[in-house]
């Protein structure tokens, strides 16, 4: 499964990527997780299954959703509490659920 994380500058998400990867490891899941800044998303979206947004780029959701629809990808904002507390586990769950909803 390929997950794309996205925030303002690709800064805060990098830690979350790490935590999610760890969580996936313990579950023996094979995932690819990358973090990019909001401006880069357009170039890479087709390579991923779901797109998770940091709460601070919530304003972009509608616009990115349209982009996602075009490529058949789900886009959603990470729960701010999970985000704030860097809960890799829960965010991974969220990503999986988002993909299953498809």
């Amino acid at each position: 499964m390929k997950i794309l994380l996205c925030c303002a500058a690709g800064m805060s998400t990098s830690l979350i990527v790490e935590k999610m990867k760890k969580a996936a490891e313990t579950r023996n899941m094979d995932v690819t997780i990358e973090a990019v800044s909001v401006d880069e998303i357009e170039n890479v979206i087709q390579d991923y299954d779901v797109v998770l947004l940091g709460p601070q780029v919530k304003y972009k959701k509608n616009q990115l959703q349209k982009l996602g629809d075009k490529h058949g990808k789900k886009v959603d904002v990470i729960n701010p509490v999970d985000y704030g507390l860097v809960k890799g586990d829960k965010i991974l769950d969220f990503a999986i659920k988002l993909r299953e909803d498809e």
Partner: protein, 905 residues
């Protein structure tokens, strides 16, 4: 009198006597006793100035170009003295005396004019001459001979010769008979300036003449010369001086001319206007004068009186004219910069005469225009802007503060203070001035209709009555607002946040009203303006909030050095607009005991029962506070390492009626040195417990019950303590709160009586029981807990910064940014940004390559204001974490904030 004018006058005299035929240079030379070549030079100068005509021939004849005499003219007859500035005020008595001196039968009274240098003695004597002609006491062509006794003071013989004439052979070089001025003035007036320089012999001769009506030429013992002359003498000497005593005995009429200082400001203004007008005539263009410059001219020390004032104005005009020429401006504008250094200081004296200045300049605009109008012969001051509007007042303040180097964010703080006072005054002034029919002349009909409509709406919504006063003032205000917006000027309301918080109902209504105004007038009202409208709607509340002076905390500044404290206090008081802070200078040689005693006296003097803030620089002074408290019982808190900015802050808060503790705290926050100290303390005790305070009068009944209700309803699983406190003594309550704050984070106060504590939300008991108080409290707790948790959970991921401290600082910054930008960020977004910034700090600390923001220019262009505000707040992190935050980082944050923000309107 200048030589050239003397020549001109001499020419006229001879010309009139000589049946209006041309005059030769030789005739003039004899008449004036000046060398012919000088006469020719002056005549040429006069010719160039167009005052004199030449009749070519040998010798060349000269005649004055225009008939000088315009006496007999009816209008002038009434006006000759009336035209003089101050004729009905400070000069009223001198003028009465002068008239009496001239008209007294049979030949008038010899007169002595007393007055300081530059008060206009010569001019006054000339006026008397004109009046004499006008009253037909003397002939139209009667001479006016002017002589300055100082001119020949080094050579008494020459002087006496000038005055009384010389007989041939009287002394070496006296090779022919010569008439003196006393003879030349026959039938007219002899003006003797600086008469105290007349040597004793000359005085005796003069007195003889005064007594007997005749005199003798020097060296002539036989012939006496009769001459009918009215003598007007003048001196700057003290009339009590030895010399003048003899004079005052012999000369019947003594006229005292007031010094500039003795004249009213209103008269001084008229003089200033007159001089600007003269300059305007000279230049042939209008002259614009900045109001501040005008105030300086009104108030500066001008020891040489009107003469100096006139000279300084001339100089200022000349400088302004130079700027106009050299910088290709469209107009001549005189500002403070054009004044001499000593005159610039005038503006500093405004505090002593603010009222008077306001009363005479109040109706004038910020820029005044002077021009010479032949018909009216009267200046007119033209208001550039709508008078009496907030914006100019505020902008001016802001500019003044900027000029003395105070930072922008501090400025808005300082400007805060006066705006309410100003507002009140504005409202008060307006109704006195206007009637309904008059307002329609000033304010556009459409605006009047809108105001009527919106006020009616506001009345219904707020369930209040608005009187005519509000109607007028709002109409006037809106009129200038519209004009301002259309002209593209910015509107700035430094009290916006305060208004939104304190008059939230009115603010909401104002937003609705703004929509009406916007749609009807097709303009866009900024939030700052809505703030102003709110002030009108809430105007009734202002009166209640009036503080009496007795409620204020005293501020005493003590500094080493002869005038350090005084000058700091002067600046602070001036900016705050009130003489609130007091200074005590401590010269280095003063003994500490002496100083302590003076400090004690001052503290007792300025304490109003609210305590005194002691602001000191260093050394033993820092111990004074406690000693003073023990000695006097007055509550004294000391702040050390004080700067001017800090004194301003303290003064401002004190005038606003804040408590001693509050003032102390805000000073600590203002002073970077003290703040560093206190934030270091904070670093040590990171673990603060969350506390909710419940309060009632006893601290037992209602407060205890509230505690139980909260416990039950809130289902607090987190670590939140609820502490009941008594409210009986407010002071004590505040102290206990302060104490609690040290180790705890006070989330909220729940109480039976409203307690307004800055930065701590208050929820009333009523809301808890019957309203949504519990939900609000829950939200507050959740908010606090989540941030706290974020801080903790990041702790294990961040190595270079203390995440809890980072989170709490970043939160504070984000709150401030939201306030300053008038935006609201949702909690999600806040969390996101906090995380982002924590990582940012961590990475900078690590020294990892920082990010690049691509379209910086575009962002700067579009959001310069937002960028500046955000940058200012973010930069405050640099000190705390010892990092450097680059522009690119800030750009990212600015963009995130803007894109996510919900605009308040």
């Amino acid at each position: 009198m200048k030589k050239v004018d003397e020549v001109y006058k001499g020419l006229i005299d001879i010309f009139n006597k000589a049946n209006n035929e041309g005059v030769t240079a030789i005739q003039l030379s004899d008449h004036l006793n000046l060398h012919r070549s000088s006469i020719s030079r002056y005549l040429n100068q006069l010719y160039k100035e167009g005052k004199v005509e030449k009749i070519q021939g040998r010798p060349v004849l000269y005649k004055p170009k225009e008939e000088r005499t315009n006496v007999g003219d009816n209008q002038n007859k009434v006006n000759i003295f009336q035209k003089v500035i101050g004729s009905n005020e400070s000069l009223n008595i001198p003028i009465q005396q002068a008239k009496a001196a001239i008209l007294y039968p049979p030949n008038g009274l010899h007169t002595l004019i007393l007055g300081e240098t530059g008060v206009g003695k010569t001019m006054f004597a000339e006026l008397m001459y004109d009046f004499a002609k006008e009253s037909e006491v003397i002939y139209k062509d009667a001479p006016f001979v002017s002589f300055n006794c100082a001119d020949y003071a080094d050579n008494p013989q020459l002087l006496l010769g000038q005055l009384f004439g010389v007989k041939k052979g009287a002394y070496t070089g006296a090779d022919k008979d010569k008439d003196g001025l006393l003879k030349k003035a026959d039938g007219g007036i002899l003006f003797l300036d600086e008469v105290h320089r007349l040597p004793p012999v000359g005085q005796e001769m003069l007195f003889t003449y005064i007594d007997k009506g005749f005199f003798r030429r020097l060296g002539d013992t036989e012939n006496v010369i009769y001459s009918k002359v009215l003598i007007i003498s003048a001196t700057t000497e003290n009339p009590q001086s030895y010399l003048l005593k003899t004079f005052t005995r012999r000369i019947p009429m003594i006229i005292n001319l007031p010094s500039l200082e003795e004249r009213s400001l209103k008269e001084r203004l008229q003089l200033i206007e007159e001089f600007f007008k003269e300059e305007s005539k000279r230049i042939g263009m209008s002259i614009y004068v900045d109001k501040k410059c005008l105030i300086s001219l009104l108030l500066y020390d001008c020891p040489n009186n009107i003469g100096q004032l006139k000279g300084d104005i001339k100089l200022a005009c000349a400088k302004a004219f130079l700027n106009y020429k050299s910088q290709n401006r469209d107009y001549i504008l005189v500002t403070c910069k054009d004044l001499p250094q000593y005159a610039k200081k005038g503006i500093m004296k405004i505090k002593d005469s603010r009222k008077e200045v306001e009363s005479i300049l109040g109706s004038k605009g910020e820029i005044l225009r002077f021009f010479y109008n032949e018909e009216e012969n009267k200046i007119s001051s033209h208001d550039h802007y709508n008078k009496d509007n907030f914006y100019d007042v505020i902008e001016n303040k802001v500019n003044t503060l900027k000029n003395i180097g105070i930072q922008e964010h501090e400025i808005s703080e300082i400007v805060n203070i006066n705006i309410e006072n100003y507002f009140k005054k504005y409202m008060g002034d307006i109704t006195n001035k206007l009637r309904r029919d008059e307002i329609s002349k000033i304010v556009d009909g459409e605006i009047l209709n809108i105001v009527e409509e919106i006020l009616e709406k506001a009345q219904k919504k707020l369930n209040k009555e608005y009187n005519e006063k509000i109607y007028y003032s709002l109409a006037l205000h809106l009129n200038s607002t519209v004009q301002r917006i259309k002209e593209g000027h910015k509107i700035f309301n430094p009290k916006l946040n305060f208004i939104r918080l304190n008059y939230s109902d009115e603010f909401l209504v104002s937003m609705e009203l703004a929509k009406i105004i916007e749609s009807k007038l097709d303009i866009e009202l900024p939030l700052d303006e809505i703030g102003y409208i709110t002030m009108f709607l809430a105007a009734d509340k202002y009166d209640e909030e009036n503080l009496t002076k007795d409620d204020r905390v005293g501020v005493l500044v003590i500094m080493h050095g002869n005038s350090t404290a005084s000058s700091m206090v002067e600046v602070a008081n001036r900016l705050v607009g009130e003489e609130h802070a007091k200074a005590l200078d401590m010269p280095l040689n003063a003994s500490p005991e002496e100083l302590y005693n003076s400090a004690k006296e001052k503290v007792i003097e300025i304490d109003n029962g609210k305590g005194v803030l002691l602001m000191v620089d260093m050394g033993s002074l820092t111990n004074f506070g406690d000693m003073l408290y023990e000695d006097t019982g007055v509550k004294v808190i000391t702040i050390e390492m004080v700067s001017t900015l800090l004194v301003i802050e303290a003064c401002r808060k004190a005038v606003m009626g804040r408590s001693l503790k509050e003032i102390y705290n805000s000073c600590i926050n203002t002073n970077p040195y003290l703040r560093k100290k206190s934030s270091r303390v904070k670093d040590v005790c990171v673990e603060k417990k969350n506390v909710i305070v419940t309060a009632c009068f006893t601290g037992e009944g209602a407060a205890e019950r509230l505690k139980n209700i909260l416990k039950e309803k809130l289902n607090i699983e987190e670590d939140v303590k609820i502490i009941p406190l008594t409210l009986l003594d407010r002071k004590e309550f505040l102290e206990r709160l302060e104490h609690l704050k040290k180790d705890n984070e006070i989330l909220s106060i729940v109480g039976t009586i409203d307690i307004d504590i800055p930065d701590i939300p208050f929820i009333s008991a009523h809301e808890i029981i019957a309203g949504n108080g519990i939900e609000r409290l829950r939200e507050i707790i959740d908010n606090e807990i989540i941030y706290e948790k974020i801080g903790k959970s990041l702790g294990c991921h961040l190595e270079n910064i203390d995440s809890s401290i980072a989170v709490s600082h970043i939160r504070k910054i984000l709150t401030d940014i939201q306030n300053d930008l008038s935006i609201v960020l949702s909690r999600d977004v806040l969390i996101g940004i906090i995380l982002h910034m924590c990582f940012m700090l961590e990475k900078i600390k690590e020294g990892k390559a920082q990010i690049v923001y691509k379209n910086k220019e575009e962002l700067f262009k579009k959001y310069s204001r937002e960028y500046n505000i955000v940058e200012r707040h973010i930069k405050s992190l640099e000190n705390i974490f010892n990092v450097e935050i680059i522009t690119d980082e800030i750009c990212y944050i600015v963009r995130t904030i803007i894109e996510n923000s919900v605009k308040f309107n």
